[in-house]
């Protein structure tokens, strides 16, 4: 019988080493390397008048101190990763600032020493004189343009974009009801438990640069380093070893260290390692989510939305290395699962004197979902209708797919929902939620969302059956905890008819697979998963072809089962996959492992040269998958909460999730993704707040004051799944990594508003915020 691994709750194959303390995180490697420390700007906005590194350089144990003036690329702007015609004033930082700093935490000098302790001591000896400049710290302040972040960017506006579907002005005029609303969402921080780290070594003899980087995109880092240092890409190896969580900000390139560490290793001829500390992580690593939305909505007496206009400003931070992807996603995702006949959205991406922004789990979506769901709640309140009923009346129905929203998507296409059943999500979530618990100060919240997942351009995979019968597979994208090694093994094992434990997967190592894009946008399962499927299927076909000569049966009559290629219906007529791997590579010299069977004096199963025209040796194949468009996942979250009327403590009494990510590869892994996403959502909605003051100082840059939830803050999450397969890819899968976090702010806002009877228009909340709201 064929065992099907796809869909089974297979326990993770990567756990053993991690549980034994044998994980390979970047800082666990590179013992004996030189160690580093940055000198970072204490000011959010200042002119640098002088930098004196002489005392630091003179300190015993210090090997080098770099400022911009010491670097051949010191005057080069770092790459603008995603250009867009509307990004008329894109600006990126330099590796080390030399004239001006635009956020507290911007790197100014880099100290390399025999140990981290010495490097930190020496960094304190670097004298930088600053002339402070006025600080622009929120997008609202930026919009006033009383001061400029970049002198040559008028109004602090990096980009402006307006899109319209239908005729919003006419529809708004004709609407029986109209309402204006304002929503504000603050920045948040991904805060993976492992900060960033880079370890590089340079082999001068072989002219090979090897870089270990806690990144979500080693292939891109490799390409960039090759260009910068003028090396062939084949001489640059970038490996993301075990990565201790990413959640988005580890896909940026380049952070200054990603250039400085390899550069120092090449200059000094010694391995160099830099490991971020938590405090600098708070200011040096990209953040996200700051937006202010001005909404006008027109609707009928039944609560149906007729026209929606949204004008929002996005807190881009001091530079725009990631382009305008975030506001593009917000603009695209705002309508969500609802039918909005006329929709106009305008955004302006504002420069502020704060850490640059790039995607953090959810990437533009939690705030968009918050705006849409809050708007629907406001419509319900205005008309005295049930909030659930208003949602039901606006949901896109299951027979309307593919559904075209008509606005620009992050892959350059327009938004087209491929499949889904949104009313079923809502119904099922409410059935799970059950009746409202008794008691005062209890509220109910609900939100429905969509998520464009699995964006292109592509990923690839290499699959090989070894002469031992074991299978190795590799892809370019690394895992940051999503169990890639397990789920890819499931996909490959099904195609090759082997045990999942006999498939060993490597991700994020350019030595094993040099092509690819990265782990982001809930795209791993869709892109790399399907590439694994494609590659494994080619291998399976090739195995059948080789075996057919030996089994004297047509390839189409063969199947791969139990580690054998065998004739369908005749289980005893088979050949081990290991033997097929041997035969795939005709040899002159047997090297063990059964390879004598492929030498020249053994019986041949077919005529002609050992390799026929077009054949390649080895039972292996490379496959790619390039999605025609995003696969749109969806879900509904609902909750009951209780808010203590005196302390404003939030108690989540019940939290249910119904999630649809198409066909599920591994329910155990999926459950973990959802539970973790919801927990991050709860943290971001009620506990974590980046407390910037007017001077641009982050006042709570530690885990003591930035309150990431412990177990005590996170309730049990009840989860159910709906499976509407994506028609766009062979596996029928959609991404699941980010979904859990998206609607949590909207759900909690709705529930808290219901419990307290106060209007909630901002995120994040906190007991103090609720106290202030209730006091007004």
């Amino acid at each position: 019988m064929t065992t099907r691994w796809f869909g089974a709750p297979v326990q993770r194959v990567e756990d053993d080493r991690l549980l034994r303390g044998k994980g390979r995180f970047t800082d666990d490697l590179g013992e004996g390397a030189l160690e580093c420390c940055f000198v970072r700007s204490p000011y959010a906005h200042a002119r640098i008048t002088s930098i004196d590194v002489s005392a630091a350089r003179a300190m015993p144990g210090v090997v080098a101190v770099y400022t911009a003036a010491d670097l051949p690329f010191g005057g080069v702007d770092l790459p603008l990763l995603i250009p867009h015609p509307n990004l008329t004033h894109g600006r990126t930082q330099r590796c080390l600032a030399s004239e001006r700093v635009r956020y507290a935490g911007e790197a100014v000098a880099f100290v390399i020493a025999e140990s981290r302790y010495i490097a930190e001591d020496a960094a304190e000896l670097v004298q930088v004189d600053y002339e402070p400049l006025p600080v622009v710290i929120t997008p609202e302040v930026a919009l006033k343009a009383e001061h400029l972040v970049h002198d040559d960017v008028p109004g602090n506006v990096a980009a402006e974009m307006t899109q319209e579907v239908g005729d919003v002005d006419a529809a708004m005029r004709a609407a029986p009801h109209r309402k204006r609303l304002r929503f504000r969402y603050e920045r948040g921080a991904a805060s993976p438990m492992e900060g960033r780290a880079v370890w590089a070594r340079w082999s001068a003899g072989e002219r090979t640069l090897t870089v270990y980087d806690s990144t979500q995109s080693p292939t891109s880092i490799r390409g960039g380093l090759a260009v910068l240092f003028g090396l062939p890409e084949s001489n640059v190896e970038v490996i993301a070893p075990d990565v201790g969580g990413g959640f988005g900000p580890k896909i940026m390139l380049f952070y200054p260290d990603e250039l400085l560490v390899p550069y120092a290793a090449m200059q000094l001829g010694r391995p160099v390692k830099w490991t971020e500390d938590r405090q600098e992580h708070f200011t040096a690593v990209n953040q996200e989510r700051g937006q202010v939305h001005e909404v006008e909505v027109g609707f009928d007496g039944e609560g149906r939305v007729l026209a929606l206009g949204d004008d929002f400003i996005h807190d881009g931070g001091a530079y725009t290395p990631y382009g305008i992807i975030l506001p593009i996603i917000s603009a695209a995702q705002l309508p969500g699962p609802y039918r909005i006949p006329s929709y106009r959205v305008r955004f302006r991406d504002m420069y502020t004197n704060a850490t640059p922004t790039s995607p953090y789990r959810g990437a533009g979506r939690p705030h968009a979902c918050f705006v849409m769901e809050r708007t629907l709640d406001a419509i319900a309140a205005e008309l005295g209708l049930d909030r659930v009923e208003v949602r039901r009346r606006n949901l896109i129905q299951r027979d309307e797919f593919p559904y075209e929203v008509g606005v620009l998507w992050q892959d350059g296409n327009t938004v087209v929902y491929d499949s889904g059943d949104y009313p079923a999500l809502l119904d099922r979530a409410l059935a799970m939620l059950g009746p409202k618990p008794a008691g005062d100060h209890v509220g109910m919240g609900v939100a429905v969302y969509v998520e464009g997942t699995g964006v292109g351009p592509y990923e690839g995979a290499h699959v090989q059956v070894l002469v031992s019968g074991k299978v190795v597979a590799a892809t370019g994208i690394p895992s940051q905890g999503q169990a890639h090694a397990t789920v890819w093994a499931q996909v490959v094992a099904d195609e090759l008819g082997v045990d999942v434990r006999d498939v060993e997967v490597t991700g994020g190592d350019t030595r094993r697979f040099p092509w690819g894009v990265g782990t982001f946008a809930s795209r791993g399962a869709v892109t790399a998963g399907n590439a694994m499927h494609v590659a494994a299927r080619i291998v399976a076909d090739r195995a059948k072809q080789i075996a057919s000569d030996h089994l004297e049966a047509a390839p189409e009559d063969l199947e791969l089962v139990g580690g054998q290629v065998r004739v369908k219906g005749s289980p005893d007529r088979g050949i081990p996959l290991a033997a097929v791997a041997v035969l795939s590579n005709p040899v002159r010299y047997a090297f063990g492992g059964g390879t004598e069977a492929a030498t020249q004096f053994t019986a041949k199963a077919r005529e002609g040269p050992p390799l026929h025209d077009g054949e390649q040796p080895g039972l292996e194949a490379t496959g790619y998958y390039s999605p025609p468009g995003s696969a749109w996942a969806s879900g509904c979250h609902a909750a009951y909460v209780r808010v203590d009327p005196k302390t404003f403590r939030l108690e989540i009494l019940r939290y249910v999730v119904v999630h649809d990510c198409g066909r599920v590869i591994n329910p155990l892994v999926l459950q973990g993704q959802i539970e973790g996403g919801v927990a991050q959502g709860i943290g971001g909605a009620f506990y974590e707040r980046l407390a910037y003051d007017a001077d641009g100082q982050l006042r709570n840059a530690s885990f003591m004051e930035f309150l990431m939830p412990y177990a005590t803050e996170i309730p049990r999450i009840e989860i159910d799944h709906l499976e509407t397969p994506s028609p766009l890819n062979p596996l029928g899968v959609k991404g699941a990594g980010e979904a859990g976090v998206i609607p949590v702010g909207a759900v909690l806002a709705s529930a808290i508003e219901d419990a307290m009877g106060v209007s909630i228009t901002e995120m994040p909340l906190s007991p103090l915020k609720l106290y202030e709201l209730s006091a007004t």
Binding site: D27, M193, G244, G481, L668, E675
Partner: protein, 150 residues
């Protein structure tokens, strides 16, 4: 100090953190460092059997004490310790960075409370941060570890 049952001499640098000493002098890199200010719990080790944060101690303070790190729970290819096994069975880890700290905290918890109440489990794991799992699977893992230990 004794580390995982083996005697080691103290570091020569008086200001060396216990976490750095374990990781970089003794090569026991399973003990991770997530914040260096004693909040995240990634660096949790057992000091004479009780969980402590190795980033908040100087290595010289561990002189004369018995330190157990995650590497000391199950040697090389020996079967996993029941707490490690339970984390595996319950998908109690994703990226695995916080995991050694959690495992050591739970080993300490079960040493003190072999049959903990749900409240004691909650408290026992509430000093460690995890950014991946949302803690649900870790709670399940602790309950499973109790079963496996019985």
């Amino acid at each position: 100090m004794r580390v995982n049952g083996v005697e080691h001499s103290a570091p020569t640098d008086a200001r060396r953190l216990l976490s750095d000493h374990l990781r970089h002098d003794l090569g026991l890199t399973g003990t991770h460092v997530g914040c260096e200010h004693g909040v995240c719990g990634c660096c949790t080790v057992l000091l004479d059997g009780a969980p402590v944060r190795s980033c908040l101690m100087l290595a010289v303070q561990a002189e004369g004490h018995e330190v157990t790190t995650v590497e000391g729970l199950a040697r090389d290819v020996a079967p996993l310790h029941p707490v490690q096994q339970a984390f595996h069975e319950c998908h109690g880890l994703q990226c695995g960075f916080c995991t050694p700290g959690f495992v050591m905290s739970v080993v300490g918890l079960l040493a003190q409370h072999p049959d903990p109440s749900p409240q004691q489990i909650e408290e026992g794991i509430s000093g460690n941060l995890c950014r991946c799992t949302g803690y649900a699977s870790i709670r399940r893992a602790v309950s499973r570890a109790v079963e496996l230990t019985k």
